[in-house]
Symmetry: C2
Subunit: 349 residues, 2 copies
Amino acid sequence: MSKERLVVAVCGATGAVGREMLNTLEQREFPAAEVIPFASARSAGNKVPFMGGELTVRELTEESFRGVDIALFSAGGSTSEKFAPHAVQAGCVVVDNSSAWRMDERCPLVVPEVNAHALAAHNGIIANPNCSTIQMVVALKPLHDAARITRVVVSTYQAVSGTGQKAIDELEKQVRQMFNMQEPDVAVYPHRIAFNCLPQIDVFMDNDYTKEEMKMVLETVKIMEDPSVKVTATCVRVPVFYGHSESVNIETERKLSAKEARAILAQAPGVRVYDNPAQKMYPMPTDAAGEDDTFVGRIREDETIANGLNMWIVSDNIRKGAALNAVQIAEALVERDLLRVRDPQLFLR
Amino acid sequence: MSKERLVVAVCGATGAVGREMLNTLEQREFPAAEVIPFASARSAGNKVPFMGGELTVRELTEESFRGVDIALFSAGGSTSEKFAPHAVQAGCVVVDNSSAWRMDERCPLVVPEVNAHALAAHNGIIANPNCSTIQMVVALKPLHDAARITRVVVSTYQAVSGTGQKAIDELEKQVRQMFNMQEPDVAVYPHRIAFNCLPQIDVFMDNDYTKEEMKMVLETVKIMEDPSVKVTATCVRVPVFYGHSESVNIETERKLSAKEARAILAQAPGVRVYDNPAQKMYPMPTDAAGEDDTFVGRIREDETIANGLNMWIVSDNIRKGAALNAVQIAEALVERDLLRVRDPQLFLR
């Protein structure tokens, strides 16, 4: 039941990611007959820009999905948990950007460059991975295929846009306040983010890792479909608006020289090798913001172990880390003729 | 020849670290009869604040050191290379904050909490380690003593003040320009630092590591006096004014639980354990700025290896990372009666 012109819902359309989803659907000329923006009652009636005009935001309800073919959700975990099952019941396929369904065995967790094949088994809800996981696996999967990665030590440098528009506003406000000799207001994060580093993203778990760190550990294994890839992560928020950076150390079964790794990554889909120290060329958030590719540089051998590599991975957390990856999943569903729901009641039982 | 009242020179007294050296000498009531600020001819005649009054900056020349007992240098590598040998020739002991003498076998490289004993063998020049190395070894040495560290994977989040006053000014100026819709001027760093991350600190070496990264590798071994400690580093500049942060992953010979590590660090000199996830308490640059201690938190076991730990180490890069450590070395020299030069011609031959 591949369709030329689909009805697409964007749920959470007024948020930073929702707006970028609309933008991405437009830029990539997604075959949509109609795009309907949904949000909470509070935002209903607002306008969002689309295709040179404006769309009026509707209130998201359990009845919103009649006649909708595909829904892109980016409205938080509790909204996804509540509404995605009703979307599926209405025969609508959901691509969900929250963490609600990611580790659910019934839901594929997909980065199209890495495991698009997993879409074939979907049951109506496909989960979009965490932003910091997506860009890491885009870069690591081709190296894993070539040399088998056994261990990953990653430290992140994550932009405030990952938290949403309110965090973008908070960083800007705090900077203005500090430059006007005022005490900065702290509301979105537990501590000031302006000119600071916060080694906490999301809540703490029982093992003293944050939920964000555990997402990187668990989602990587699910997407790479290989429990032998062991990941340990430290996730840190930095005062950057757009673009997550990651310092990634890997250990591989087979030796991979920096030159080999560069050559493999140069051929990898979704990756741009940006690695020329002599020209002071390396990935930075300022380069990646607004771009689709995941940038990889600072590739060099780690001499402390036999088969080690260090690298620096940067991507636009709102695009590849969220909106773009969700739209790519939607495109893959259309291409592979997978816009179908096998069991409409599955997530309501 | 321990002296109660010494003549102390501060070379590079108008820079960010030089000013903090003066500040630290004052705060710690260093037993100085006289403190003389030196700088280049360009800065001579300027005033610097000291003990409620002001000192007049003098031009640094080869003849500046007659009658000076101890000189604290923070005026860049080439100035140290040129003038430190003349200081020693005049019988003055030098504590040098540049990288010029750090790997010289004739010069101890000292963090007083870690290897103050190495001062006994000095020949007139004692090197102050790199800022990012100092705070790391303060935290790692007690863990090494307890469990033998075999491997360290570190990623840094370094403040602009490490580059000096001109970089502090540049970050501030770029932020103001961007908030006024102007194109930010880029002068000190190769790329914009405002709301960005730069994975380059100091110049690139032949192995594609930066000099800063290799400092962390080589200086750690020299200070810890153990070539079996293998370090691999990724050094990154972030838009923070004061306070370097480090995400540090260690592997040890003997298993160390997070709880044991916390208990060991709680007893360690110069370390403050700041680790209570339930209270959202962890080290941040905003806490460390202006403090003497190195803050350690986010201590947790790394399950990807048998004996692994992750931690997050933050310190004021201008204080413990530079000025304070240099003054602590000077204090140890006085306490241990080591203000003597054995061979005045050594560094001139």
